[in-house]
Symmetry: C2
Subunit: 643 residues, 2 copies
Amino acid sequence: MPYGYNGKILKVNLSTATIGVDEHDEVWYRTYLGGACVGAYYLLKEMPARADPYGPDNVLVFTTSVLVGAPMSGYNRYSVVGKSGLTGLIGDTQSSGFWGPELKLAGFDAAVVKGRSDRPVYLWIHDGQAEIRDASHLWGRETKEVQETIRAELGDRLVRVAQTGIGGEKLVRFANVTNDLNHFNGRTGMGAVMGAKKLKAIAVRGHGKLEFKDPSKIQELARYFTQTFRQNPANRGHYDLGTSEFVGVQNADGQLPTRNFQTGHLEDGEKISGETMHETMSVKGESCWACATRCKRVVSAEEPYRIDPAYGGPEYEAVSALGSDTGTTDLAAVVKANELCNRYTLDCISTGAVIAFAMECYERGILTKADADGLDLRFGNGGAVVAMVEKIARREGLGDVLAEGVMRAAEQIGRGAEKYALHWRGQELPMHDPRVKGMLGISYAVSPIGADHVVVEHDTDFNFTAPQVWLDQLTPLGPLERLETSSIDNKKLRMFYYLQQHFSFLDTLTLCLFDFGPVRHYKMAELVEGAQAITGWELSLHELMKAGERRVNMFRAFNLREESPLDRFWLPERMFEPIQSGPRQGARVDPDKLRVALRKYFEIMNWDEGGVPREMKLAELDLDWLEPMVAPYRGVVREVIGA
Amino acid sequence: MPYGYNGKILKVNLSTATIGVDEHDEVWYRTYLGGACVGAYYLLKEMPARADPYGPDNVLVFTTSVLVGAPMSGYNRYSVVGKSGLTGLIGDTQSSGFWGPELKLAGFDAAVVKGRSDRPVYLWIHDGQAEIRDASHLWGRETKEVQETIRAELGDRLVRVAQTGIGGEKLVRFANVTNDLNHFNGRTGMGAVMGAKKLKAIAVRGHGKLEFKDPSKIQELARYFTQTFRQNPANRGHYDLGTSEFVGVQNADGQLPTRNFQTGHLEDGEKISGETMHETMSVKGESCWACATRCKRVVSAEEPYRIDPAYGGPEYEAVSALGSDTGTTDLAAVVKANELCNRYTLDCISTGAVIAFAMECYERGILTKADADGLDLRFGNGGAVVAMVEKIARREGLGDVLAEGVMRAAEQIGRGAEKYALHWRGQELPMHDPRVKGMLGISYAVSPIGADHVVVEHDTDFNFTAPQVWLDQLTPLGPLERLETSSIDNKKLRMFYYLQQHFSFLDTLTLCLFDFGPVRHYKMAELVEGAQAITGWELSLHELMKAGERRVNMFRAFNLREESPLDRFWLPERMFEPIQSGPRQGARVDPDKLRVALRKYFEIMNWDEGGVPREMKLAELDLDWLEPMVAPYRGVVREVIGA
């Protein structure tokens, strides 16, 4: 048996109700490793170009990596990859929790789902077996009930259930996948793809054992990581508050997206800060499988809203999207809205963003109270936020429009609403402002999955020490200068290029971005040591960086094939307008400089002027097999930079 | 004090007889590391374009690296870098021995020599001091006498002397630099540049101490390497025979360059094999500073030639160039010719190659016995080889013509002699045949210093396990297929790209290519550990590979600036003709496939069609400062591939 992986990938066709297994050799596993590289491999090999994301041809891949299942902090995630109904491009989303390692212990490294079922089904994977089971009785049910029912009928309380909820069933374009009710594959709407396939859930349970090359080294590293983590004062906030620790920090710095990104500072913002939530509503922190961190929040309340702690609690992104971006300081409403998003498997970023968009339309007279089903959609109205989440999940009234995401909603609403639809490639902007964070504009503009902050999360224009600590492990750097937001400095592009590869290989290995953050506890060299101890391969940071680049280029190949008008490199108009108030008042992105930066990005990627990877870039990454798919787009005169 | 380096670079101007010191910060040292990166830095910064290699403007850099001086096998080399009078392009040559560590202990990491002295001088560097001393009494003397005289007048037997000999004084274009009489900076004729500057020698002595980050780790690694090396049976031949172990192997395989590369098999070739030399003439093996290997040969004889063991003994390249390539099985003559090369500081590859060229011209009637000063220059005449080495060193008769190298000699001789001048970019081919070794053709064709086998020494078309062992540490590879000699398979290009970076960073760190060869004792991960223990930097294989690529791009920038007609990418005509006999009879390079391969090489390098690095490739390598030098050559329609 190989080290770190099973060598088996489950293949399911829901149209024909057939189940099979793919096996690949060691070189294949070492090349694709896991996560979106495995996902994109199947999408590129088995999905026809320009397939309907909600049709039977979409290929939905649930995949771990060769590292998942090792008992170490941060090694427990999985990805869901498929064509996104939100962007029409590749969709990729990671989640932590317990489901990933359980799949590995059940004997599979990934599950590839094709086709579409006529009736609701769920997949039951256990100890090398898999079966398609009826889920008619689970359709329309809330995730908690679904999970309990599945566990009961399978007679095992330890079955792990990844599922989509009511939002996914209703094809809300930004619907999530959730596992254990409080872990989420957010962004890109993979829950809607599950819904379209009538795949309610994948239940997994395994009693297997993974072999690792050097178990004692793994034990030693696990102990070391735990100790280092606990001793590091920089981790205190993360341990106590989770990602919500950043709400206060970013608001104080004037870069907390507020009122649909009109400003970066929310008055009385401390009312929704992580500290306030911790003091008034937190029940506890929770961990994922084998993790020493405790970044997951669990909140509970009875009044004014009943909050079920089974659905966890809001992350930074949720507080900002459902709170500051809708102008709300009503913490109870924010927490309730988040709980509803989780309950219905709605992506909380997109949900908050689409409500903020509606609110701006409302304030500007583009939407009336009648349009809003009688809701007073003024910024700051927490109650309206809560009510609107319900409507989106059930596609009721304006909720049915907003369930399409800001881009399509704006098209439907018309009357100039497009101007307030903050998305790129069809996906709503996450809660980080490129007008302040120097590299983030490029990150949003180039992200193959639509605007996304984990292409390169951190930047040099904020007081994080992250880029310095990271980049010092990648290249001789010297003290980082404070780069202007709109800088087109080549050094910044180089940093972006390196950091993108780094983030990308973390996602390929389905490693936790928080645990592997530089201010947390891992050094890159320790990550490499861990990967070696698990797999027995002579992995190096060189090889992992190439794996990261491989993922980006596979995504690019997929998107080229789709020939979508959305596949352009730019930012929404508002990013070129100044932040209206607060400490960062006046900050904006310079479009001329962005244009130059994007051209430079293509060049550093060894892509041509149309953003098409050159043949030898593909070859360098052992992706020659993509050449026939990519070649038709090369040399075609097509300006892809700009709105 | 920093770890691993002194932070001081000696600056000497021989025209003005002034001495200064450059200091650079830690980021500079971590960026350029040593070797040719430091050398090329000074050449690009301080030498005007198109300078006369033998004029005062040439900048000659003697440089160690941040790793030299650590008491570990293979960490003891230094480079000499300057503009080559042989190629008119960048020259770079490494040597081992004892001089490099001694320079470090004397307080300097490198010495940069500019200008030209009116009278012979030598440089005396000791314990942070340096002085220019008269060398009039040393001019015209043999290296052994020079070394003894310098040591005597400085009153220290442990002074280490790097010098050029009579060949360098006479501006033989392929003259070497030597240290301790039997270690050589071969190729590219840096000895002639010393001669032109009237710089006879650099004597160094240091009583300093280098600081290392983790001395106990260094000790542990040194012990581990020594043990591993001794236990590895693959090292036996190297330990017992040095590089001459390959003579017999390559001859048996039909790829030992014979009679000016007309064939790959020398009849009775075992008469000049490493084994025969070992049994009949070897005195002992010798090591370099702190090295556990014993690859240096020392040979001695009284008859038929007196061989002075002070000059060491022949390496593989010497046996092949002076032996098989001249068709000689007269071992005594080969060994004597080698001793003379060493005594006069002639590069033994170019010396053998230029004599083989003359022999072919002689056999084809292009040169007569009269042209050859009465020598019977038939292939196989060992006595004529010995005699001709003397003539080249002293530039007597035909020797004066051959001292120019095959390219210029052929021009002088005319009558179709060019066809038999086996060089690329003006430098004679080393003793490896691209018609057999699959990647070597690309290696010779792209080598910025002229035909060179250490761009990528090994290849996939021979029975070395080397590429497999190496590449498995760089990229997921799987079992290496046997690639056809002329293959343009993208996989081969990828391997070449990676191996070139790897070789290049070994030369940047001035590490021994033999000790760090994969069948020897180091793994790449151990090399990284060693580099970390010395410097305290979080170096990774990723960063080192980029350093290797940085060196290649700095070389490219230098060569572009020179605007030389020699700066083309191709092979000599003979490589497209079949090997005439032996096991590899018929093997040839396909020029059409080579052309495609070179285009692909440009593309994988992110260079444009004219072989000019794109702006963002320079930026990626933190070489933005080269952009103004390189930009004028970008986009200029100029075919540089082909003869």
